[in-house]
């Protein structure tokens, strides 16, 4: 087979099931019908396998809660303690 560009001799290689014709003169490459698609598919499979893993979930706060702490927080106002008299008293007094 002759190179369509420089009329040089084209040599056939096979790599992972894909036929590649390369010109000995200008090093140009000729792909048969469907081979470009095959290469694209193989490339995307490779990327999936080697993709960097998804970032891990954000770590828990660097300084967590103690083992004897409240299992379910009482803040957040389910009884609106933020203005509760004894909470405010405790916040401000000895």
């Amino acid at each position: 087979m002759q190179c369509p560009k420089c009329r040089g001799n084209m040599r056939t290689y096979e790599r992972n099931g894909v036929h590649i014709d390369q010109c000995d003169g200008c090093r140009g490459i000729f792909l048969d019908y469907g081979e470009l698609e095959t290469l694209t598919r193989m490339e995307s499979q490779w990327s999936q396998q080697h993709a960097t893993p998804a970032p891990p979930p954000p770590p828990p706060p660097a300084h967590g809660a103690p083992g004897w702490g409240a299992p379910a927080p009482h803040y957040g106002g389910h009884y609106g303690h933020h203005r509760h008299r004894s909470w405010v008293g405790m916040l401000f007094s000895t």
């Binding site: 009482h74 803040y75 004894s86």
Partner: protein, 304 residues
């Protein structure tokens, strides 16, 4: 004229001497009297307060190493009025009690970090900081035998170094405020500053973080406020906890102790007012219950 009127009259005369406006009584805790005379406040300390430690603390409070950290008294002198110790301070603007959600957690944390960085050797000699001894005193104020009181006493008994459990590890000997809460800061000259040297001294600075730590652990303080406080303390180089990683190794005992103290105070107050514990107070009792379980579990592991 009652004894308290006599005291207020005498404080008013002191206020006129140092201040610049007619004296008025400010609301404060029941055992302390505070009069404001314009730019100064006159404080009658709690009955029975010891004079010598207060004199040492007043001298330290005047030291330049604490400028911008602790409010400087108008005079180092400790006066006496009707058997009460009296000190004179500049007037400041306290944290707004009506907007606790806007409390300046970061400013408090930074001030504490800066105080903890002052070497006690740089100051005139100081007594031990307050904190640990108060826990037992407040627990002893509970006079009944209710289920809540038994839980608080059991929790107190398992606190290392305070109840019947032995202390663990060395106690740091650093400068500490000794009684920090949101009432211990005022705005003065446009900046927040710590007030009240009554419990300042040498001890474990982790106790100054113990109240917010206890509130956070009990689930009463919004975790965001806690993390802002702790983050600001660490960012300022605060030495009471390691710069990163788990702060609870250092905070655990003081925070548990303050939980016990706050629960005991709540029980005593509810009994005095002849009422049931409210929701916030009950949360403290529940936390004491968990402290007992947690400490018992640790103990059984340690003895295996």
């Amino acid at each position: 004229m009652s004894e308290s009127d006599d005291l207020i009259g005498e404080l008013g005369r002191i206020g006129l001497r140092y201040g610049d406006a007619p004296p008025e009584v400010l609301p404060t805790r029941p055992d302390v009297v505070i009069l404001r005379a314009g730019s100064v406040v006159v404080k009658a300390h709690a009955p029975g307060a010891a004079g010598e430690p207060l004199a040492l603390r007043m001298r330290a409070a005047r030291h330049p190493a604490l400028r911008g950290i602790l409010l400087e008294p108008v005079t180092e002198e400790v006066m006496e009025a009707h058997g009460r110790l009296v000190t004179v301070w500049p007037t400041g603007v306290p944290v707004d009690h009506d907007a606790p959600e806007a409390a300046p957690w970061e400013a408090g944390a930074r001030l504490l970090a800066r105080m903890h960085a002052v070497h006690p050797e740089a100051l005139p000699p100081l007594p031990a900081s307050g904190g640990p001894p108060r826990v037992g005193e407040v627990v002893a104020r509970m006079k009944g035998g209710s289920a809540a009181e038994r839980v608080v006493r059991r929790a107190f008994d398992c606190l290392p170094g305070l109840g019947s459990a032995p202390a663990t590890g060395d106690v740091p000997r650093l400068l500490a405020h000794g009684d920090w809460h949101m009432g211990q800061m005022v705005r003065h000259g446009g900046e927040w500053i710590l007030i009240d040297a009554d419990d300042m001294g040498v001890g474990d600075p982790a106790w100054d973080l113990a109240r917010p730590a206890a509130w956070f652990a009990a689930g009463l303080l919004d975790p965001q406020a806690w993390h802002r406080f702790l983050g600001a303390y660490r960012a300022e180089g605060g030495c009471a906890v390691p710069p990163d990683g788990d702060p609870w190794e250092r905070l655990e005992v003081p925070a548990q102790a303050l939980t016990v103290q706050l629960a005991a105070a709540a029980v005593a107050t509810a009994a005095r007012q002849e009422r049931e514990l409210d929701e916030v107070e009950s949360v403290l009792i529940d936390t004491c219950q968990r402290i007992v379980k947690f400490r018992s579990a640790c103990h059984s592991v340690a003895t295996q």
